[in-house]
Amino acid sequence: MKLAALIKKEFFRFFRDPKLIATMILPGILIFFLYSLMGDLLWSEEQKYDFKTVYVGGESAIIQPLLQQAAVQLTGQEDWTLTPAEDVEQAKEAVREEKATALILFDENFDERILSYSPESGERAPQVRIYYCSADETSAAFYSLAISVLDAYESTVSNMFDVNLSDEVFDFSSEADVLVSLLGGFLPFLIVALIFSSCMSITLESVAGEKERGTLATVLVTSVRRSDIALGKVIPLSCISVIGALSSFLGVIFSFPKLMGISVSGMAGAFGISSYLQLLLSVCSVVPFIVALLTLVSAYSKSVKEASAYSGVVMIFVMVLSLAAGIVDMNGLWVAFVPVLGTVSCISRIMDLSVTLGMTLLTVGVNLVYTVVLIFLIAKMLSSERIMFGK
């Protein structure tokens, strides 16, 4: 009953103040526009290329469509195609005069020979020759595009015998793998940083602010249990921070693909519903932990200023931990039991699709346990006159 009133008051305070709501929702919107803009600038740079004719001599039923697809994606020229070269020498001449972008020559029976080629045979490997003009920007761009497509294909070929490959499946997962490993490295850090800052903006104001203004003491002279006061802060502030975290999170989810130059649906395809849910679960479970941590720091501090100084230190720790988890590949069960580190490594595992449900649940459980411990400590602090009323 008393706890309900405490929680209600905190919500009332928040939702009646447009300023506070704005500070929760703005970061997400800001991130969305900032990243989208960065993505636009980044990718429009490359869309400048306008491929002219690219001649093909010989034939590869596998590589040609891949090359064509990649080129269309890069330039946005929907109807661009490779042109079969009638006369190889003429085609070379056109490239030299920069009338054509490039000439690609496949050895005869390229596809079959690739598939049956074995290095032990001592035969010369089948070749692709690309004639281009590195002085011409467009030509150079096509050359590097072709090289990357061929490289990708080459690695497929060596895998092929191992995995009984089917073209489409490999294509799809390779695209997703690249994307996902990029996200996996950077996003967890970003998410934790955003959660931390949104928790910080309201928790410091609500807890250290109340202590500084002497309004917390007014509640302390009533017969409310100290643990209720602690819960009455951590529960509503966590709920509110989740809004802020979600806002930032959505901003990232919707703008990140743009930043990476892929479509939102492409990204949604790479993860399944279960990945999204697990992501949400681990993000939401770390919020109460961070709020409780900041509540503890705020309850200890004499003023908002002091609390933000302490929180700055805590923030550095949290950032270092989350960066470490993104960079260093950490194994072992102990990781899950280190606060923040466990969550960040769980998020990156969700991102690179190597997580198990058990791991996510363990992370959530660990976060909950730490939160309960912190609430207990906060209640202890609220009962300490040296901390609450010391000068």
């Binding site: 008393k2 002497g214 309004t215 009323f389």
Partner: protein
């Protein structure tokens, strides 16, 4: 026979001083004895005044009685409950009014009254009934929907007062009741304290204003430097003279120095 409602037994409170505080207090001692073995009794239906100069330890004593801080030694019993062992129970039978307990300026008196009613575990109708009565009594009705931050400081004090007694406590503890109030508001407050007494409630207040004690209090405790110089009924203490005269007499007799 008068019923004893507050009994303090050898209350003692020591604060450790930081280097900065030592400088302010112009001392090299790391400890400051704020209250030094204070004992006194207050009775139901009476107003008890703690009279003393700045730094005498009045606020510290009242904070101990209202369970905000714990005594190092000694104990006090309010409504028969120990402030050391039954702090929770003591909180429900007292109302504590002091300048250091603030109300959140974002909320309205209306909201805060309900909120603190609930903090004391009161039922909704009981809170509504009490609100009507007290808001009317103090003329807060008209300002019930105005944010506390937008109220005048006198009105803020009145709101703080009614909120501190929302749960109709047996004992009202009041630190410097008329501090910062104009004569009109001060009179409203002192009249109300007298009225509380009339209703059989007990009041403990602290002040350094002689006239307030003379006008209002039934019993007085004179404290200087954390020690009780003299305690008794107002008539006993005054002994036929003015309180001010008696105070200086007591003060000088115990070796006090006037700078």
């Amino acid at each position: 026979m008068k019923e004893e409602i507050v009994r303090a037994e050898g209350l003692r409170k020591t604060f450790s001083l930081s280097k900065k505080q030592q400088k302010i207090e112009k001392t090299h001692q790391a400890m400051k004895v704020a209250v030094d073995g204070l004992s006194f009794s207050a009775y139901r239906g009476e107003i008890y005044g703690l009279l003393g100069p700045n730094g005498a330890g009045k606020t510290t004593t009242l904070r101990m009685l209202s369970t905000l801080i714990r005594p190092d030694e000694g104990d006090a019993f309010l409504c028969g409950k120990s402030i050391v062992k039954e702090a929770q129970a003591v909180r429900d039978c007292i109302g504590f009014m002091t300048g250091e307990l603030k109300l959140e300026s974002f909320f309205t008196p209306d909201y805060l009254f309900d909120f603190f009613g609930m903090m004391h575990g009161m039922a909704k109708d009981a809170v509504a009934e009490r609100k009507r009565e007290l808001f009317h009594r103090f003329g807060i009705d008209r300002f019930a929907g105005v944010r506390v931050g937008d109220l005048s400081s006198g009105m803020k004090q009145k709101v703080s007062l009614v909120i501190s007694i929302v749960h109709d406590p047996e004992i009202v503890i009041f630190d410097e009741p008329t501090n910062g109030l104009d004569v009109l508001t001060a009179k409203v407050v002192t009249d109300f304290l007298a009225e509380l007494r009339g209703m059989g409630k007990s009041v403990i207040l602290s002040t350094h204003i002689f006239s307030l004690v003379e006008k209002l209090c039934d019993r007085v405790g004179v404290i200087v430097e954390g020690k009780m110089l003299r305690e008794g009924s107002l008539a006993e203490i005054m002994d036929g003279r003015s309180l001010e005269e008696r105070f200086f007499e007591l003060y000088l007799a115990t070796g006090g120095v006037l700078q």
